[in-house]
Protein backbone atom coordinates (compact mmCIF):
# COMPACT_ATOMS: atom_id res chain seq x y z
CA UNK A 1 0.00 0.00 0.00
CA UNK A 2 1.26 3.44 -0.82
CA UNK A 3 -0.28 6.73 0.18
CA UNK A 4 0.71 10.12 -0.98
CA UNK A 5 0.05 13.22 1.08
CA UNK A 6 0.95 16.87 0.74
CA UNK A 7 2.00 18.80 3.82
CA UNK A 8 3.17 22.37 4.15
CA UNK A 9 5.93 22.13 6.70
CA UNK A 10 7.33 25.38 8.07
CA UNK A 11 5.97 27.15 5.01
CA UNK A 12 7.41 24.77 2.41
CA UNK A 13 5.10 22.37 0.54
CA UNK A 14 6.26 18.75 0.63
CA UNK A 15 4.83 15.81 -1.30
CA UNK A 16 5.34 12.72 0.77
CA UNK A 17 4.84 9.07 -0.15
CA UNK A 18 3.96 6.90 2.84
CA UNK A 19 4.44 3.15 2.56
CA UNK A 20 2.40 2.62 5.71
CA UNK A 21 -0.58 4.48 7.19
CA UNK A 22 0.67 3.77 10.69
CA UNK A 23 3.48 6.34 10.57
CA UNK A 24 3.04 9.09 13.14
CA UNK A 25 3.74 12.70 12.30
CA UNK A 26 6.55 12.58 14.88
CA UNK A 27 8.34 9.70 13.17
CA UNK A 28 7.78 11.26 9.77
CA UNK A 29 9.39 14.53 10.88
CA UNK A 30 12.33 12.96 12.66
CA UNK A 31 13.10 9.90 10.54
CA UNK A 32 12.04 10.94 7.07
CA UNK A 33 12.17 14.71 6.81
CA UNK A 34 15.36 15.43 8.76
CA UNK A 35 13.55 17.61 11.28
CA UNK A 36 14.72 16.16 14.59
CA UNK A 37 13.95 19.29 16.63
CA UNK A 38 10.61 17.74 17.60
CA UNK A 39 11.44 15.32 20.41
CA UNK A 40 10.16 11.87 21.24
CA UNK A 41 9.64 11.60 24.98
CA UNK A 42 6.93 9.15 26.02
CA UNK A 43 5.48 8.42 22.54
CA UNK A 44 2.03 8.12 24.11
CA UNK A 45 0.70 11.63 24.54
CA UNK A 46 1.64 12.16 28.15
CA UNK A 47 4.74 14.36 28.06
CA UNK A 48 4.24 16.92 25.29
CA UNK A 49 7.87 16.84 24.04
CA UNK A 50 6.55 16.17 20.53
CA UNK A 51 4.18 19.16 20.42
CA UNK A 52 3.86 20.82 17.01
CA UNK A 53 1.28 23.19 15.51
CA UNK A 54 -1.08 21.65 12.94
CA UNK A 55 -3.46 24.04 11.15
CA UNK A 56 -2.96 26.57 13.93
CA UNK A 57 -3.58 24.17 16.82
CA UNK A 58 -1.04 22.50 19.08
CA UNK A 59 -1.15 18.71 19.00
CA UNK A 60 0.97 15.77 20.12
CA UNK A 61 2.70 14.63 16.94
CA UNK A 62 3.27 11.17 18.49
CA UNK A 63 -0.50 10.57 18.50
CA UNK A 64 -1.19 12.00 15.06
CA UNK A 65 -1.03 9.67 12.09
CA UNK A 66 0.68 11.49 9.23
CA UNK A 67 -1.81 10.00 6.76
CA UNK A 68 -4.64 11.93 8.42
CA UNK A 69 -3.01 15.28 7.65
CA UNK A 70 -3.19 15.49 3.86
CA UNK A 71 -3.26 19.21 3.00
CA UNK A 72 -2.32 20.37 6.49
CA UNK A 73 0.01 23.19 7.57
CA UNK A 74 2.56 22.00 10.12
CA UNK A 75 4.90 24.22 12.13
CA UNK A 76 7.78 22.70 14.08
CA UNK A 77 10.44 24.29 16.27
CA UNK A 78 12.66 24.57 13.17
CA UNK A 79 10.10 26.90 11.59
CA UNK A 80 9.79 29.49 14.36
CA UNK A 81 12.82 31.73 13.86
CA UNK A 82 13.01 34.17 10.98
CA UNK A 83 16.55 33.73 9.69
CA UNK A 84 18.77 34.53 12.67
CA UNK A 85 15.99 36.32 14.51
CA UNK A 86 14.47 34.10 17.18
CA UNK A 87 10.74 33.95 17.80
CA UNK A 88 9.70 35.99 20.88
CA UNK A 89 8.85 32.77 22.74
CA UNK A 90 12.33 31.38 22.02
CA UNK A 91 13.93 34.64 23.22
CA UNK A 92 11.83 34.64 26.39
CA UNK A 93 12.78 31.03 27.22
CA UNK A 94 16.47 31.99 27.02
CA UNK A 95 16.05 35.19 29.04
CA UNK A 96 13.92 33.59 31.74
CA UNK A 97 15.97 30.39 31.94
CA UNK A 98 12.98 28.25 30.96
CA UNK A 99 14.94 25.01 30.72
CA UNK A 100 17.75 22.96 32.11
CA UNK A 101 18.62 19.87 30.04
CA UNK A 102 16.62 21.20 27.10
CA UNK A 103 15.01 17.96 25.92
CA UNK A 104 11.43 19.09 26.53
CA UNK A 105 12.13 22.64 25.37
CA UNK A 106 11.06 22.42 21.70
CA UNK A 107 7.73 20.97 22.85
CA UNK A 108 7.41 23.58 25.61
CA UNK A 109 8.06 26.38 23.14
CA UNK A 110 5.63 25.05 20.51
CA UNK A 111 3.02 24.56 23.22
CA UNK A 112 3.57 28.13 24.44
CA UNK A 113 3.17 29.44 20.88
CA UNK A 114 -0.14 27.54 20.69
CA UNK A 115 -1.24 28.78 24.11
CA UNK A 116 -0.56 32.42 23.25
CA UNK A 117 -2.42 32.05 19.94
CA UNK A 118 -5.43 30.62 21.81
CA UNK A 119 -5.52 33.92 23.68
CA UNK A 120 -7.23 32.64 26.80
CA UNK A 121 -4.50 32.58 29.41
CA UNK A 122 -3.18 36.15 29.08
CA UNK A 123 -0.32 36.62 31.53
CA UNK A 124 -2.16 34.97 34.43
CA UNK A 125 0.36 32.47 35.83
CA UNK A 126 -2.30 30.01 36.96
CA UNK A 127 -3.93 29.93 33.54
CA UNK A 128 -0.49 29.55 31.97
CA UNK A 129 0.27 26.61 34.26
CA UNK A 130 -3.03 24.99 33.28
CA UNK A 131 -2.44 25.69 29.59
CA UNK A 132 1.12 24.34 29.73
CA UNK A 133 0.20 21.28 31.80
CA UNK A 134 0.49 18.99 28.77
CA UNK A 135 4.24 19.57 28.74
CA UNK A 136 6.24 17.78 31.38
CA UNK A 137 9.70 19.05 32.35
CA UNK A 138 11.63 16.45 34.29
CA UNK A 139 14.22 19.05 35.29
CA UNK A 140 11.29 21.00 36.76
CA UNK A 141 12.10 24.31 35.13
CA UNK A 142 8.43 25.19 35.51
CA UNK A 143 9.03 28.51 37.25
CA UNK A 144 11.20 29.78 34.40
CA UNK A 145 8.79 28.36 31.81
CA UNK A 146 5.85 30.21 33.36
CA UNK A 147 7.87 33.46 33.48
CA UNK A 148 8.95 32.96 29.86
CA UNK A 149 5.36 32.46 28.68
CA UNK A 150 4.23 35.55 30.62
CA UNK A 151 7.08 37.58 29.14
CA UNK A 152 6.47 36.37 25.58
CA UNK A 153 2.72 36.98 25.93
CA UNK A 154 3.32 40.61 26.95
CA UNK A 155 5.95 41.19 24.30
CA UNK A 156 3.82 39.74 21.51
CA UNK A 157 0.79 41.76 22.64
CA UNK A 158 2.90 44.94 22.58
CA UNK A 159 4.32 44.12 19.16
CA UNK A 160 0.78 43.57 17.89
CA UNK A 161 -0.31 46.91 19.34
CA UNK A 162 2.70 48.55 17.67
CA UNK A 163 1.77 46.96 14.34
CA UNK A 164 -1.80 48.15 14.66
CA UNK A 165 -0.79 51.74 15.49
Amino acid sequence: MSLSIRLTINGAPRDIALEDARVTLLDLLRERLALPGTKKGCDRGQCGACTVIVNGKRVNSCLTLAATLDGAQVTTIEGLATGDRLHPVQEAFIEQDGFQCGYCTPGQIMSAVGLIAEGRAGDDPERIREGMSGNICRCAAYHGITLAVQEATRRMAEAEKGDAA
Partner: protein
Protein backbone atom coordinates in the same frame (compact mmCIF):
# COMPACT_ATOMS: atom_id res chain seq x y z
CA UNK B 1 -4.25 -3.50 5.80
CA UNK B 2 -5.56 -0.41 4.10
CA UNK B 3 -6.22 3.16 5.12
CA UNK B 4 -9.74 4.30 4.30
CA UNK B 5 -10.87 7.92 4.15
CA UNK B 6 -14.61 8.10 3.55
CA UNK B 7 -16.08 11.52 2.77
CA UNK B 8 -19.60 10.79 4.07
CA UNK B 9 -21.18 8.70 6.81
CA UNK B 10 -22.89 6.54 4.15
CA UNK B 11 -19.52 5.79 2.60
CA UNK B 12 -18.00 5.15 6.02
CA UNK B 13 -20.75 2.68 6.94
CA UNK B 14 -20.45 0.88 3.61
CA UNK B 15 -16.67 0.57 4.02
CA UNK B 16 -17.01 -0.55 7.62
CA UNK B 17 -19.40 -3.30 6.56
CA UNK B 18 -16.99 -4.58 3.92
CA UNK B 19 -13.66 -4.11 5.59
CA UNK B 20 -14.05 -4.70 9.30
CA UNK B 21 -11.68 -1.83 9.96
CA UNK B 22 -10.68 -0.11 13.20
CA UNK B 23 -12.26 3.32 13.44
CA UNK B 24 -9.97 6.33 13.88
CA UNK B 25 -11.54 9.49 15.30
CA UNK B 26 -9.20 11.98 17.02
CA UNK B 27 -6.59 9.27 17.41
CA UNK B 28 -5.39 10.30 20.88
CA UNK B 29 -5.96 6.80 22.25
CA UNK B 30 -5.50 4.87 19.01
CA UNK B 31 -1.97 3.64 19.62
CA UNK B 32 -1.82 4.01 23.43
CA UNK B 33 -4.83 1.70 23.91
CA UNK B 34 -3.09 -0.98 21.84
CA UNK B 35 -0.11 -1.22 24.15
CA UNK B 36 2.51 -3.33 22.40
CA UNK B 37 0.06 -5.01 20.02
CA UNK B 38 0.71 -3.87 16.46
CA UNK B 39 -2.09 -2.38 14.39
CA UNK B 40 -2.79 -4.96 11.68
CA UNK B 41 -6.41 -4.27 10.73
CA UNK B 42 -7.39 -1.61 8.24
CA UNK B 43 -7.88 1.92 9.54
CA UNK B 44 -11.10 3.82 8.81
CA UNK B 45 -10.35 7.53 9.32
CA UNK B 46 -13.46 9.64 10.01
CA UNK B 47 -11.50 12.90 9.79
CA UNK B 48 -12.78 13.91 6.36
CA UNK B 49 -16.50 13.66 7.15
CA UNK B 50 -17.53 17.26 7.86
CA UNK B 51 -21.07 16.34 8.94
CA UNK B 52 -19.68 14.56 12.00
CA UNK B 53 -18.26 17.80 13.44
CA UNK B 54 -19.95 20.58 15.34
CA UNK B 55 -22.85 21.28 17.68
CA UNK B 56 -26.33 22.24 16.60
CA UNK B 57 -29.62 23.05 18.29
CA UNK B 58 -32.41 20.68 17.34
CA UNK B 59 -36.15 20.72 17.99
CA UNK B 60 -35.70 18.54 21.08
CA UNK B 61 -32.32 19.62 22.33
CA UNK B 62 -28.74 19.62 21.11
CA UNK B 63 -26.85 17.40 18.71
CA UNK B 64 -23.11 17.10 19.20
CA UNK B 65 -21.41 15.51 16.19
CA UNK B 66 -19.31 12.44 16.95
CA UNK B 67 -16.06 14.08 15.81
CA UNK B 68 -16.54 17.28 17.81
CA UNK B 69 -13.36 17.91 19.80
CA UNK B 70 -13.13 18.81 23.48
CA UNK B 71 -11.68 22.19 22.49
CA UNK B 72 -14.74 22.89 20.34
CA UNK B 73 -17.04 21.94 23.21
CA UNK B 74 -15.23 24.35 25.56
CA UNK B 75 -15.74 27.21 23.13
CA UNK B 76 -19.30 26.42 22.08
CA UNK B 77 -22.12 28.79 22.95
CA UNK B 78 -24.20 26.54 25.19
CA UNK B 79 -26.55 27.14 28.15
CA UNK B 80 -25.35 26.74 31.76
CA UNK B 81 -26.62 23.15 31.92
CA UNK B 82 -23.55 22.36 29.80
CA UNK B 83 -21.07 23.99 32.20
CA UNK B 84 -20.32 20.55 33.68
CA UNK B 85 -19.52 19.18 30.24
CA UNK B 86 -17.37 22.22 29.44
CA UNK B 87 -15.46 21.83 32.69
CA UNK B 88 -14.91 18.15 31.94
CA UNK B 89 -13.70 19.12 28.45
CA UNK B 90 -10.96 21.19 30.11
CA UNK B 91 -9.81 18.15 32.07
CA UNK B 92 -9.46 15.69 29.18
CA UNK B 93 -5.68 15.30 29.13
CA UNK B 94 -3.86 18.40 27.92
CA UNK B 95 -4.86 21.10 25.43
CA UNK B 96 -2.91 19.09 22.84
CA UNK B 97 -5.25 16.17 23.53
CA UNK B 98 -8.36 18.37 23.68
CA UNK B 99 -7.54 19.75 20.23
CA UNK B 100 -7.72 16.26 18.69
CA UNK B 101 -9.74 14.07 21.05
CA UNK B 102 -13.44 13.71 20.25
CA UNK B 103 -16.61 13.22 22.25
CA UNK B 104 -17.48 9.94 20.54
CA UNK B 105 -13.93 8.66 20.94
CA UNK B 106 -14.17 9.30 24.67
CA UNK B 107 -17.45 7.36 24.88
CA UNK B 108 -16.38 4.49 22.63
CA UNK B 109 -13.08 3.94 24.47
CA UNK B 110 -15.26 3.40 27.52
CA UNK B 111 -12.62 4.03 30.12
CA UNK B 112 -14.09 3.97 33.66
CA UNK B 113 -12.25 7.30 34.09
CA UNK B 114 -13.56 8.92 30.88
CA UNK B 115 -14.08 12.57 31.82
CA UNK B 116 -16.93 13.06 29.36
CA UNK B 117 -19.22 10.35 30.69
CA UNK B 118 -20.46 11.71 34.08
CA UNK B 119 -21.59 15.10 32.72
CA UNK B 120 -23.27 13.44 29.74
CA UNK B 121 -25.03 10.95 32.03
CA UNK B 122 -26.24 13.86 34.15
CA UNK B 123 -27.52 15.50 30.95
CA UNK B 124 -29.49 12.33 30.05
CA UNK B 125 -27.50 12.09 26.83
CA UNK B 126 -28.36 9.63 24.08
CA UNK B 127 -26.00 8.14 21.53
CA UNK B 128 -27.01 8.17 17.86
CA UNK B 129 -25.72 5.04 16.15
CA UNK B 130 -25.64 4.53 12.41
CA UNK B 131 -25.61 1.30 10.40
CA UNK B 132 -26.11 0.92 6.64
CA UNK B 133 -29.55 2.37 5.93
CA UNK B 134 -30.59 2.90 9.54
CA UNK B 135 -29.94 4.86 12.71
CA UNK B 136 -30.92 4.11 16.29
CA UNK B 137 -30.66 5.93 19.60
CA UNK B 138 -29.49 4.45 22.86
CA UNK B 139 -29.36 6.08 26.27
CA UNK B 140 -25.72 6.67 27.22
CA UNK B 141 -26.33 4.64 30.40
CA UNK B 142 -27.12 1.63 28.17
CA UNK B 143 -24.40 2.37 25.64
CA UNK B 144 -21.39 1.95 27.90
CA UNK B 145 -21.67 -1.62 29.15
CA UNK B 146 -18.33 -2.25 30.82
CA UNK B 147 -14.65 -1.43 30.99
CA UNK B 148 -13.75 -0.67 27.36
CA UNK B 149 -17.06 -2.21 26.23
CA UNK B 150 -19.92 -0.47 24.43
CA UNK B 151 -23.20 -1.60 22.84
CA UNK B 152 -22.03 -1.26 19.24
CA UNK B 153 -22.57 -4.13 16.82
CA UNK B 154 -20.07 -4.85 14.05
CA UNK B 155 -20.62 -2.39 11.23
CA UNK B 156 -22.15 0.28 13.48
CA UNK B 157 -20.73 3.75 14.00
CA UNK B 158 -21.50 6.46 16.56
CA UNK B 159 -22.72 9.50 14.61
CA UNK B 160 -23.66 11.95 17.36
CA UNK B 161 -24.50 12.55 20.99
CA UNK B 162 -27.91 14.07 21.72
CA UNK B 163 -28.73 16.09 24.81
CA UNK B 164 -32.43 16.72 25.46
CA UNK B 165 -33.56 20.30 26.13
CA UNK B 166 -33.37 21.58 29.66
CA UNK B 167 -34.85 24.74 31.15
CA UNK B 168 -32.63 27.75 30.36
CA UNK B 169 -31.96 28.26 34.06
CA UNK B 170 -30.76 24.70 34.72
CA UNK B 171 -27.27 24.77 36.27
CA UNK B 172 -24.43 22.28 36.39
CA UNK B 173 -20.95 21.65 37.65
CA UNK B 174 -18.16 19.07 37.38
CA UNK B 175 -15.33 18.27 39.77
CA UNK B 176 -12.45 15.90 39.28
CA UNK B 177 -10.18 14.66 42.03
CA UNK B 178 -6.68 13.68 40.99
CA UNK B 179 -3.32 13.35 42.65
CA UNK B 180 -2.24 16.68 41.18
CA UNK B 181 -4.07 19.66 39.72
CA UNK B 182 -3.71 19.01 35.98
CA UNK B 183 -3.18 16.22 33.49
CA UNK B 184 -4.36 13.42 35.73
CA UNK B 185 -6.46 10.33 35.50
CA UNK B 186 -9.31 10.72 37.98
CA UNK B 187 -9.40 9.18 41.41
CA UNK B 188 -13.04 10.18 41.35
CA UNK B 189 -15.17 12.72 39.53
CA UNK B 190 -18.69 14.01 39.87
CA UNK B 191 -21.09 15.90 37.65
CA UNK B 192 -24.36 17.50 38.72
CA UNK B 193 -27.13 19.00 36.59
CA UNK B 194 -29.83 20.77 38.62
CA UNK B 195 -33.12 22.46 37.89
CA UNK B 196 -33.90 25.06 40.53
CA UNK B 197 -37.09 26.43 41.98
CA UNK B 198 -35.89 29.72 43.42
CA UNK B 199 -33.20 28.84 45.94
CA UNK B 200 -34.28 25.18 46.12
CA UNK B 201 -33.41 22.15 44.04
CA UNK B 202 -36.37 21.06 41.91
CA UNK B 203 -34.66 18.14 40.17
CA UNK B 204 -31.13 16.82 40.56
CA UNK B 205 -29.06 14.51 38.45
CA UNK B 206 -25.73 13.44 39.88
CA UNK B 207 -23.27 11.09 38.18
CA UNK B 208 -19.96 9.71 39.42
CA UNK B 209 -17.03 8.45 37.33
CA UNK B 210 -13.93 6.39 38.14
CA UNK B 211 -15.68 4.69 41.08
CA UNK B 212 -17.25 1.78 39.19
CA UNK B 213 -16.59 -0.07 35.91
CA UNK B 214 -19.06 2.29 34.22
CA UNK B 215 -19.89 5.78 35.54
CA UNK B 216 -23.13 5.76 37.55
CA UNK B 217 -26.00 8.06 38.37
CA UNK B 218 -26.95 8.19 42.06
CA UNK B 219 -30.80 8.10 42.13
CA UNK B 220 -31.00 7.90 45.93
CA UNK B 221 -28.93 11.03 46.36
CA UNK B 222 -30.78 12.78 43.53
CA UNK B 223 -34.11 12.17 45.28
CA UNK B 224 -32.75 13.29 48.65
CA UNK B 225 -31.52 16.59 47.19
CA UNK B 226 -34.94 17.73 45.99
CA UNK B 227 -36.22 20.70 47.96
CA UNK B 228 -32.87 21.60 49.55
CA UNK B 229 -31.12 24.97 49.42
CA UNK B 230 -27.36 25.26 48.92
CA UNK B 231 -26.95 25.99 52.64
CA UNK B 232 -28.94 22.88 53.52
CA UNK B 233 -26.79 20.77 51.18
CA UNK B 234 -23.70 22.22 52.87
CA UNK B 235 -25.12 21.35 56.29
CA UNK B 236 -25.82 17.70 55.44
CA UNK B 237 -23.72 15.69 57.89
CA UNK B 238 -22.71 12.98 55.40
CA UNK B 239 -23.93 11.46 52.19
CA UNK B 240 -25.49 8.18 53.44
CA UNK B 241 -23.84 5.06 52.11
CA UNK B 242 -27.11 3.84 50.64
CA UNK B 243 -27.00 6.80 48.27
CA UNK B 244 -23.57 5.64 47.05
CA UNK B 245 -24.70 2.03 46.59
CA UNK B 246 -24.38 2.06 42.78
CA UNK B 247 -20.63 2.63 43.19
CA UNK B 248 -18.07 -0.13 43.46
CA UNK B 249 -14.68 1.56 43.54
CA UNK B 250 -11.53 -0.44 43.07
CA UNK B 251 -8.22 0.03 44.86
CA UNK B 252 -5.39 0.93 42.49
CA UNK B 253 -2.27 3.06 42.35
CA UNK B 254 -4.42 6.18 42.44
CA UNK B 255 -6.33 5.42 45.63
CA UNK B 256 -7.91 2.79 47.86
CA UNK B 257 -11.57 1.86 47.55
CA UNK B 258 -12.33 3.29 50.98
CA UNK B 259 -10.62 6.57 50.11
CA UNK B 260 -12.59 6.83 46.91
CA UNK B 261 -15.89 6.35 48.78
CA UNK B 262 -14.99 8.99 51.36
CA UNK B 263 -13.78 11.39 48.71
CA UNK B 264 -16.70 10.94 46.37
CA UNK B 265 -19.25 11.62 49.10
CA UNK B 266 -17.76 15.04 49.67
CA UNK B 267 -17.12 15.62 45.98
CA UNK B 268 -20.85 15.11 45.29
CA UNK B 269 -21.78 17.69 47.88
CA UNK B 270 -19.21 20.21 46.65
CA UNK B 271 -20.31 19.74 43.05
CA UNK B 272 -23.98 20.35 43.88
CA UNK B 273 -23.17 23.44 45.95
CA UNK B 274 -20.89 24.84 43.24
CA UNK B 275 -23.60 24.33 40.64
CA UNK B 276 -26.10 26.22 42.84
CA UNK B 277 -23.81 29.06 43.81
CA UNK B 278 -22.59 29.71 40.28
CA UNK B 279 -19.12 28.26 40.05
CA UNK B 280 -18.05 30.14 36.92
CA UNK B 281 -16.50 28.41 33.95
CA UNK B 282 -13.91 31.19 33.46
CA UNK B 283 -14.62 31.14 29.75
Amino acid sequence: MSYLTPKSTEEALALLGQAGADVLAGGTDFFPSRGTRPQTRSILDLGQIDSLRGIEKTARGWRIGAMTTWSQIQRADLPPAFDALKRAAREVGSVQIQNRGTIAGNLCNASPAADGVPPLLALNAEVEIGSPGATRRVALSDFVTGVRRVALSPGELVLAVHVPSLPDDAVSHFLKLGSRRYLVISIAMTAAVLELDGPRIATARVAVGACSPVAQRLPGLEAALVGLTAAEVAALPVVPETHLAPLAPIADVRGSAAYRMRAVADLCRRTVIAAMTGGTTDE
